[in-house]
């Protein structure tokens, strides 16, 4: 019975499968006695949505380019571009710069959250999600959880790159892990900005545009690339209140085994403020219509 067709299209379902398809006599058995189980907790629903995001990565692995190739490019480019000029040698520059580029790269990657929300929300399946009796923010928190997975990958890529290029963190393994953790906590909060824009703006393009307009000044006008003390006063004023500076300072200190209480406190303040303001705003937009 097997046909020996060549070049069978693997994406099409075989006619045989279709024929075997469907028999209504089997239906009634599965329909009865399926009362709804008790409603899951908000955390459980959020994790389920996070799992959905990871499944999507599994089906479309190309989307990992932005968390692998992009950070590699950033690290190489800036190490060799600025290294010699700014610090005399690339290895020396790397000790200052690597935690910064880690923060900048991951802050840049957070903007894909907005793009994902924007394209996903228009699909029919979202109507279904919104008719489920569950904790309302779960789909949004799910995006952020899925994205944390991406940030971890990017962090590993950058730290490994740095080690290869000659980065030697004084904080050791513990310091590096703690530094990455601080960054992830901040990015989780920061991503609410993008869920908000993802829901607010009409098209994927405008989400990208706004994201770049926000991210470019935030990442460049910070302590990531150069020591702020070399900058003119008016610029220092901005750099000093820029959250990316605080995060970069906190991560840099933590990775070198130093406790920078003030930077860490600032990160904590930003984390809470961003979550409260943009989390609330996101949910207002989500519940609107």
């Amino acid at each position: 019975m097997t046909t020996t067709e060549r070049g069978t299209d693997t994406t099409a379902i075989s006619a045989e499968a279709l024929e075997r398809g469907f028999d209504s006599s089997r239906l009634s058995g599965v329909l009865s006695a399926t009362e709804r189980p008790p409603r899951p907790s908000g955390l459980s629903s959020s994790i389920t949505f996070g799992w959905r995001a990871v499944l999507k990565i599994k089906h479309v692995p190309e989307q990992l380019f932005d968390v692998t190739l992009f950070p590699i490019m950033m690290t190489l480019m800036f190490t060799y571009l600025f290294g010699g000029a700014l610090a005399g040698s690339t290895t020396e520059y790397l000790q200052y710069f690597l935690p910064g580029i880690l923060v900048a790269s991951i802050a840049m990657i957070t903007m894909y959250t907005g793009v994902a929300v924007n394209t996903d929300i228009a699909k029919g399946v979202f109507d279904r999600f919104r008719t489920l009796p569950m904790w309302r923010p779960a789909p949004m928190v799910g995006y952020l959880l899925g994205d944390l997975f991406r940030y971890v990958i990017a962090s590993v890529v950058i730290v490994v790159m740095g080690l290869i290029l000659g980065y030697r963190p004084a904080g050791g393994v513990v310091g590096v892990l703690a530094g990455v953790l601080v960054l992830l906590v901040f990015c989780f909060a920061f991503s609410w900005v993008w869920t908000m824009f993802g829901l607010l703006l009409r098209s994927e393009k405008s989400v990208m545009g706004v994201s770049m307009m926000v991210l470019m000044p935030l990442t460049f006008l910070s302590s990531v690339y150069v020591d702020p003390s070399t900058m003119p006063g008016w610029l220092q004023a901005f750099v000093k209140v820029n959250p990316v500076t605080h995060v970069a300072d906190a991560v840099r200190a933590t990775m070198s085994g130093v406790w920078d209480g003030s930077a860490l406190l600032w990160v904590a303040v930003w984390t809470v403020a961003l979550t409260v303001v943009f989390g609330t705003w996101t949910m207002r937009l989500y519940n609107r219509t």
Binding site: E35, K56, V125, T131
Partner: protein, 348 residues
Amino acid sequence: MTAPPAIQAEGLIKVFGSNRAVDGVDLTVGSGTVYGLLGPNGAGKTTVVKMLATLLRPDGGEAQVFGRDVRREADHVRELISLTGQYASVDEDLTGTENLVLLGRLLGAGKRAARNRSAQLLEAFGLTEAADRQVKQYSGGMRRRIDIAASILSTPKLLFLDEPTTGLDPRSRNQVWEIVRAVVAQGTTVLLTTQYLDEADQLASRIAVIDHGTVIAEGTKGELKASVGLGTVHVRLRDADRRAEAAEVLERVLGSEVTLDADPVAVTARIGERDTGGPGAVVEGTPVTELAAEQAALALTELARAGIVVDTFSLGQPSLDEVFLALTDHPASDRSVDAEATEQGAAA
């Protein structure tokens, strides 16, 4: 105290900009029944469904689902309903299994229970072979089946089906109908929207005809059929001279007006309701097609008896257009087409 109806809506309104998409819709849907919302593209069917399913806030009016207000008690309403939207209502990037497990988990099932339930439903819906393929690779019929399977992971009290068979081939359409019947047999109430009179007739017990955001007719199937008729008989005769005679025969048998077409040998006659089982009576529960076929057969027999030779014969079901003609004296208009035409007019 009697139990509240599955849906009770009064004066529902939704306005998009200057477009009154839904303009004062009243609906009462009894528990355990299938209710058909029949109307052309752009009539406002999806908007009504979205308001009842807590996805859109009504701009005016009230609606309750099993006595729970869709605005103030939205969360409670969501525990009672499932929605199979007009367009892909599962995640096309995920596989059939992944979709059902995901939704099962979101409804509160444990990992194991969700997996078992998913496998069981995929089997019953004839999708086991496709369980591990991404839904975007499914055929139209399979897609619709997984859409519906996703809605009955746990039995909802009220199921919304928004145009479940639009664009499906007849076979897949029949499968969807069988599924709907099986779901209703378990006691679930169904609100079904459709553009096909035939579909509403097959599945629904009551039907509301909706156009430009308002209900223009509402009643049992029988009431609706009585006002619309069963379809049309079209005959072409061998001999043009006998046309007048044939028209007379048809008029007598079918009891409805007869049109003499431009074609000199053709006669078209509407099949009315009144000759089935007594004057004005409607045989409840008998599909339109069967009643129409019965009467058409009778008409043919009578023509033969009169010695009039028929060359070709066809039996047409009443189209949505005819329903609208009968109810409103204007054909069903597709609003989106209207809009396009206006735009083109403006551009020209």
